[in-house]
């Protein structure tokens, strides 16, 4: 008797959970949006991708008219989430919080498609990825660092978040364009600053908000920013281009949806997020995370993505990653 009761309970649980998933699928609709949309975040809860993602959808909800349901799909440097989004219907109810990872995960070959397997709605902004050294390091400029690296080929180490990550590729492009031979150490996100401060690595490529407090406390200094414009908070630090090395890689964050989404829905979403980035609450969170809001609509973003894709592919070839 008990066994049977248990079995019934088990089946009932299964039926309910499957039913719940099926209901979420929904049918064809006349007016968009008429129900909540899933917002997929390619990284874990609590990190900057997650916090910024949740902040932008909460700012966007009033303009969207329905709610967004943020869902974290971490793993594989974004690959898990992009694969999941790839399999979703293009009905406008699955929206992805894409980032530079959409170019790295596709180019390294961890997913069987390229970045253009999605429709891209808008770029929201970026975080810069400066090269920093310890404050007591003998180099004050990026030129001095390059000279030291040339004098000691393979002797200096630059830490990064992981092989194939944006920070790694930035360091690779920097090394290629400046003609230096350095060791790239994939310390990982939680070890890259301790490794620099502890003296295991001589430099690090790291998102600005992570290294900023250490610059302010006098533990580290920034040599250059691989961005188009100088960083507002560090007006005296040059960009890589100004220093003579053509390196522009930004950790951008953007909105993407499955391929083949109705152009009207794309227009609608573009407008929703264009308004959301101007919201006070989102501006606040962005400022705290050192996230520079630099909105690009569909067309500009398409050009930008194509150019960055070429750059990332070149960097991967240079780093022997493909």
């Amino acid at each position: 008797m008990r066994k049977r009761a248990l079995f019934v309970l088990f089946v009932a649980t299964l039926v309910v959970s499957i039913g719940a998933t099926a209901m979420a699928e929904g049918q064809a609709e006349s007016t968009y949006p008429e129900k909540s949309a899933e917002f997929m975040i390619p990284f874990g809860a609590g990190g900057s991708a997650d916090t910024l993602g949740r902040a932008i959808v909460s700012a966007a909800e009033p303009f969207f008219g329905e709610s967004f349901v943020p869902v974290n799909r971490p793993g594989g440097g974004g690959a898990v989430m992009y694969q999941a989004m790839y399999n979703e219907p293009s009905d406008g109810y699955t929206i992805g919080w894409s980032s530079t990872s959409i170019l790295t995960a596709t180019n390294i070959g961890n997913v069987p498609f390229a970045y253009d397997a999605f429709d891209h709605v808008a770029r929201v902004g970026y975080t810069s990825l400066p090269i920093a050294v310890r404050a007591d390091a003998p180099w004050d400029t990026v030129e001095e660092f390059v000279a030291a690296a040339k004098a000691d080929p393979g002797g200096l180490a630059i830490g990064n978040a992981g092989t194939g990550s944006a920070t790694h590729l930035t360091a690779v492009v920097f090394a290629t364009k400046s003609g230096i031979d350095v060791i790239h150490v994939p310390n990982g996100a939680e070890r890259r600053i301790p490794a620099l401060l502890g003296g295991e690595t001589q430099a690090v490529c790291v998102p600005l908000p992570e290294i900023g407090p250490f610059v302010e406390s006098g533990d580290a200094k920034i040599l250059a920013f691989p961005t188009v414009n100088r960083e507002p908070a560090y007006p005296d630090v040059p960009t890589m281009r100004e220093a003579g090395y053509d390196v522009v890689i930004e950790l951008f964050r953007s909105i993407s949806v499955p391929k083949g989404t109705d152009p009207e829905i794309l227009d609608y979403l573009e407008e929703v997020f264009r308004q959301a980035v101007q919201e006070e609450e989102f501006l606040d969170v962005s400022a705290r995370y050192g996230f520079v809001i630099d909105y690009m609509g569909r067309e500009d973003f398409a050009d930008y993505l194509a150019a960055q894709d070429v750059l990332i592919a070149e960097a991967m070839d240079a780093g022997g990653l493909r």
Partner: protein
């Protein structure tokens, strides 16, 4: 300084903040004690709630959850042999054996008071020497971490006591499993068979839930064996437990310091601390009491419990002084603080001393609440054992499914849990210990990563592990750990037969 500390104290003691702390403690006990639900999950759930709170209320709530989750994890480990959190997995070893002998209350009481003791030691370290400890922890580079994890791996030998060979096989299988997923250094998939779900590897949590919970459920429901221990008799009362805070003092001090130290090293990982503490406690036990220890006694519970709450304060050290999370839970905590507009890191102590003191007080208040609440509700926990297993076990299985699903919002991890559950069931039947497998899965990825990174920075020179002094010490202890049981068993054979 003193006036800031007092201002912070009154802030933390305001009714709203006390209520937040208590709420966090209750919720933490629930997620900690429920197999399948974890502290990280609890934090993620509470995170949106904290957005609208002020920083002190928010940290009171989250710290309460963090501390009580660690303690709560031991409750299910002791009563059901299912650790509620990864850091409670060592507690299950001695704790559940005690419960089976009808000593559930002593085991729980020891766990709770040791947890409190561990939390207090780590708080003292945090308050008195956090910046120094943080700087010292920076001395732990890849080489030192590699050697520490190597030492952790040799503990497999200690947990394969009954059959060394079976223990080693179990550990080796665990290590092989950790090679699945993204290569940690070159970032390419290994043994994933093109499955994107396997790319981030086989995560530890569904494995742990599977290995511990599923065999219990199968044994209880299918094999009809009595998996839930009995508890009869009168409860001893809160005060008799509180007097036990200082029992087994030397074991607790050592374990709490191990927990704090390992917690303070970014990237070392919590579960290593509890197994290390358990092993050290076993070594500290006088030869004539070893039998009692192996059969499961209070020391075997006190050591890992003092260590896992030591992690609480320890993990806060790099988070607050360097802005670097020591484990996944503090990573979420860090996110919560940043949302509040605070920047944990080298400037926090200088720019925001008031908040730093609030964290210290909130930690203290949280730990006291955990102590009082768990002891006062002892009756409820012991009553869990009176629930018929055909009701209790299905409830646990539901939570296991929910918990594993919630890890990545996919049923993949639920499948992983079931597969490892079956494996655990078979291992149990054929006398293979599951702890070595679990240890290997926790430590394997860290081992590979730190060793390979060391070799990258040393340009392929393996002697760095011997030329770095801290690393050398770990390697020597590790070799001693590895060879001593073998040598001992050789002697025994010669003398015995």
């Amino acid at each position: 300084m003193i006036d800031i500390a007092i201002t912070a104290l009154f802030d933390v003691l305001s009714p709203v903040n006390l209520l937040a702390s208590l709420g966090g403690v209750l919720f933490g006990l629930f997620v900690g004690a429920t197999p399948g639900l974890t502290i990280s999950l609890g934090m993620v759930l509470l995170l949106p709630v904290t957005y609208s709170m002020n920083p002190v209320t928010s940290i009171s709530l989250l710290l309460g959850l963090f501390i009580s989750g660690m303690t709560g994890g031991s409750i299910s480990a002791i009563l059901l042999n299912i650790p509620g959190t990864p850091s409670a997995s060592a507690t299950a070893i001695a704790g559940h054996q005690m419960a089976r002998r009808g000593e559930a209350e002593s085991a729980l009481g020891t766990a709770v008071t040791s947890s409190f003791f561990g939390a207090m030691v780590s708080l003292a370290v945090l308050v008195l020497v956090a910046p120094t400890v943080a700087r010292a922890a920076l001395k732990f580079g890849e080489v030192e971490l590699g050697a520490l994890v190597f030492l952790g791996l040799t503990l497999i030998c200690s947990f394969g006591q009954k059959s060394m060979v079976k223990g080693l096989i179990s550990g080796a299988v665990g290590l092989m499993i950790t090679t699945v997923g993204m290569d940690p250094i070159i970032g390419r998939p290994r043994y994933t068979f093109g499955l994107v779900e396997l790319m981030s590897g086989i995560s530890f949590l569904p494995v742990m839930i599977g290995l511990f919970a599923i065999p219990q459920i199968l044994n209880g429901l299918v094999m009809k064996s009595n998996v839930i221990p009995d508890f009869k008799g009168e409860l001893r009362g809160v005060f008799s437990h509180i007097r036990g805070v200082f029992k087994h003092l030397r074991y607790k001090v050592v374990s709490a310091l191990i927990g704090t130290g390992v917690g303070a090293i970014p990237g070392a990982g919590g579960p290593i601390a509890v197994f290390l503490a358990y092993d050290v406690a076993r070594r500290m036990t006088p030869e004539e009491q070893k039998k009692e220890f192996d059969a499961g006694n209070e020391v075997g519970v006190a050591a890992p419990e003092a260590a896992n709450n030591g992690i609480n304060g320890g993990a806060l050290i790099p988070m607050m002084t360097l802005g670097i999370p020591g484990d996944p839970v503090t990573a979420i905590l860090l996110g919560a603080l940043m949302i509040q507009g605070l920047t944990p890191g080298p400037l926090l102590f200088r720019n925001d001393p008031l908040f730093v003191y609030s964290v210290f007080w909130a930690f203290l208040v949280g730990a006291i609440f955990v102590l009082i609440v768990t002891l006062a509700t002892m009756k409820i926990w012991v009553t869990v054992l009176q629930i018929p297993s055909w009701i209790l076990l299905p409830i646990i299985s539901i939570f296991c499914v929910i918990g594993t699903y919630s890890l990545r919002n996919s049923f993949w991890d639920t499948g992983v849990m079931l597969a490892f559950g079956l494996l655990g069931f078979l291992m149990l039947r054929f006398g293979f210990p599951v702890v070595p497998l679990l240890l290997a899965i926790v430590l394997g990825p860290a081992f590979e990563r730190h060793i390979r990174l060391s070799l990258i920075t040393s340009k392929g020179d393996p002697t760095v592990f011997l030329t770095h002094p801290i690393s050398l010490v770990f390697i020597v202890i590790a070799l001693f750990t590895f060879f001593s049981p073998i040598v001992r068993s050789l002697f025994k054979k010669k003398g015995g037969i």
